[in-house]
Symmetry: C2
Subunit: 151 residues, 2 copies
DNA sequence: CCTTGACCTAAAGTGAGGTTTAGCAATTAC
DNA sequence: GTAATTGCTAAACCTCACTTTAGGTCAAGG
């Protein structure tokens, strides 16, 4: 019934599970660009459902919103993104995820070798290896992946 | 030269690589309890080097400061923690880390099965599996933290 | 027509994990 | 003994990813 057609922000929220406020926030961050109907309300394309899906998944992978925006900005401008576009971006995830798993796995190996000694020594403990610390600190999310180790 | 002996906050910062402000912040959060010298300056035990080491490592594992404090609070009160104390705490890390690696690995498996289709569909994409989303807590949006989409 | 519910904006609040600033005191180096 | 460094506190500020609030507008139903 919407005269100008397109999805309202509430419809988008219902279908993605996102809060309306979050969607507006994403717009402010440039992740989506709805147009406005005659009354000034936001109207979204169906492709925005997929863009928001992308955002949600990318967040699970530990990407920040600016990083996600950078990926989205590489989508074709003039047309609705197609399967091939999304597949290419998805493939980019895999490298990032592989790297993260690798980092965690190495961390675990060092932990394994440390449990025996209980040292946690600044001088000698393998857990302090600075090279790998740099990989995870920096700007990235610290809570990298799922948290809640017991709480 | 320190009359009352013990490490100054600057010395601790130098030896851990932490900022002085961070160390004071950790004290405010109850992670360390320096005493004060005659002039009111903080003085730290050598064991605090290890406590801070613990904090830094635990952060790499994705623990929050309150969680880290909870672990530290289980250290013996009256005496300087020994190797066995630290080894026990280190062992606790392993479970958390194993779980995190497992979560990421499952995420990657689903991604692998998705790259071929490029769908990212809300209805059918395996990446949306809510069961595992719930397992993922972080600073992220709340719907990942227990809010069921379409609940 | 009128009410209800969805929508609008701007600004402030939240919480984690800090850093920066301002103004002053204590220590250390020469 | 004086200057430079280091330390002190309280409070403000920062980023990230949002939510909440306040005050008003738009759209749909009876």
């Amino acid at each position: 019934m919407a005269v100008n057609d397109g999805l309202s922000i509430g419809a988008l929220a219902d279908r993605t599970g996102l809060a309306v406020s979050a969607i507006r926030y994403y717009e402010a961050q440039g992740l989506i660009r709805p147009w406005r109907n005659a009354g000034g309300q936001r109207r979204f394309e169906r492709a925005d459902l997929r863009r928001l899906s992308f955002v949600m998944i990318a967040q699970q992978f530990g990407f920040t919103l600016p990083q996600i925006k950078a990926e989205l900005d590489r989508l074709p401008g003039g047309r609705t993104p197609n399967k091939a576009d999304w597949a290419q971006i998805s493939a980019g995830f895999k490298a990032a995820l592989d790297q993260r798993i690798d980092t965690m796995t190495k961390l675990r190996e060092r932990l394994d070798s440390c449990i025996g000694c209980g040292c946690l020594s600044l001088d000698s403990c393998a857990l302090y290896n600075p090279a790998d610390r740099a990989a995870d600190r920096g700007q990235g999310p610290r809570y990298l992946m799922g948290d809640t180790p017991e709480g």
